[in-house]
Symmetry: C2
Subunit: 213 residues, 2 copies
Amino acid sequence: MSTETSQDIAAPAEHWRSYRPLALHPILLRAMEAFNEHGYHGTSVRDIAGRVGVTVPALYYHYANKQALLATLLETSIKDVLDRCRAAAAEAGDDPLARFCGMVESIVLSMAHRRQLAFLDTEIRSLEPENRARYVALRDYLEHMLLDTVEAGRARGVFATPIPADAVRAVLIMCQGVANWFREDGPLTAEQVAERHVLLSLGTVGHPPAPAS
Amino acid sequence: MSTETSQDIAAPAEHWRSYRPLALHPILLRAMEAFNEHGYHGTSVRDIAGRVGVTVPALYYHYANKQALLATLLETSIKDVLDRCRAAAAEAGDDPLARFCGMVESIVLSMAHRRQLAFLDTEIRSLEPENRARYVALRDYLEHMLLDTVEAGRARGVFATPIPADAVRAVLIMCQGVANWFREDGPLTAEQVAERHVLLSLGTVGHPPAPAS
DNA sequence: CCTACCGATCGGTAGG
DNA sequence: CCTACCGATCGGTAGG
């Protein structure tokens, strides 16, 4: 709680499509890497401290415990996703189709550009109840944002799915899944993957492929 | 390596839509439950032994180590999914649309009826390289089966997606995702969830919703 | 399957 | 009084 807090971590005043190199406190950065490789319980605080090049007590000076590292990382991650998704939705305006496309694009870009951060979603089980509740609330909020848009699109006949809630859950799961397989040195860029997932998602919510909209 | 091995575990000669109560060796069953609650590294062998009601050494009499429990569980799980999916495909015959629907239905039924087993997929990172390679190979085989069907359907104009490989990956991820949220006491039965995912998946691979097929 | 244990490492903290 | 740590070790538990 000195010079640096968690505010300076992710998205200061950046456009939602723009991704600077991830600027995390070295301890958070190394913890993220270790959690990615071995999982939360498979990572020792000594491993994290070793990667950073400090002693274990030094680590405990900056963060209360191992749990605080995971909680901070996950909250940083979901808040950045939410911020960018909101920005994308705002930029798209009122049209449900444009909003949906922008939101999906922004979420997939987050998953790809911040893959290691997004991958930690698999560790929510290791969050203490209070931390998990806060994280899940933010994720649920994202889901409701997207569902509102799909419902609005349904009302205008843009989306044909008879099961919007299931479709939105499926779309978010397939977007989240990008963090499981995307690689920076893979055949597709983050932008290409985002574009493809917009297309896939439109199919999932039943946006007619044939008619010119 | 004595009386019981892993063969008697899952799917003897059952129809792919029929799910008997999960018949696992008590040690595997309790290990599965513990891994679901706390993850692989978050589970101690004493915890498992305690759930079973045996001592730790007793546990090691049946299984070489903790890793063998996870590897056996994951292999049991993916092999049962594959068996049922193959049966569903065979039952559907040559028509790509019917095959696709049957395969997706069978996979989602597996995820829902064998949720705790399917959820262990999140623990592949904790598998030793050799075990992981075997598991991933089987999962890849499932993906190729589904991709072949989607390609065949594309050739006949049944599926419109221009990106079949991405669509199949997305479909499998959304099916796998069912294991993350499905609850037996939830609002939908496994069969309803499977039906809905067939519909969602058809949209994802671009099966035209309007024309009467 | 049990009792009796091992070398090492776990998350976290002491005094300075 | 603060910050940013250190070498050493705490009580318990890991897989075997």
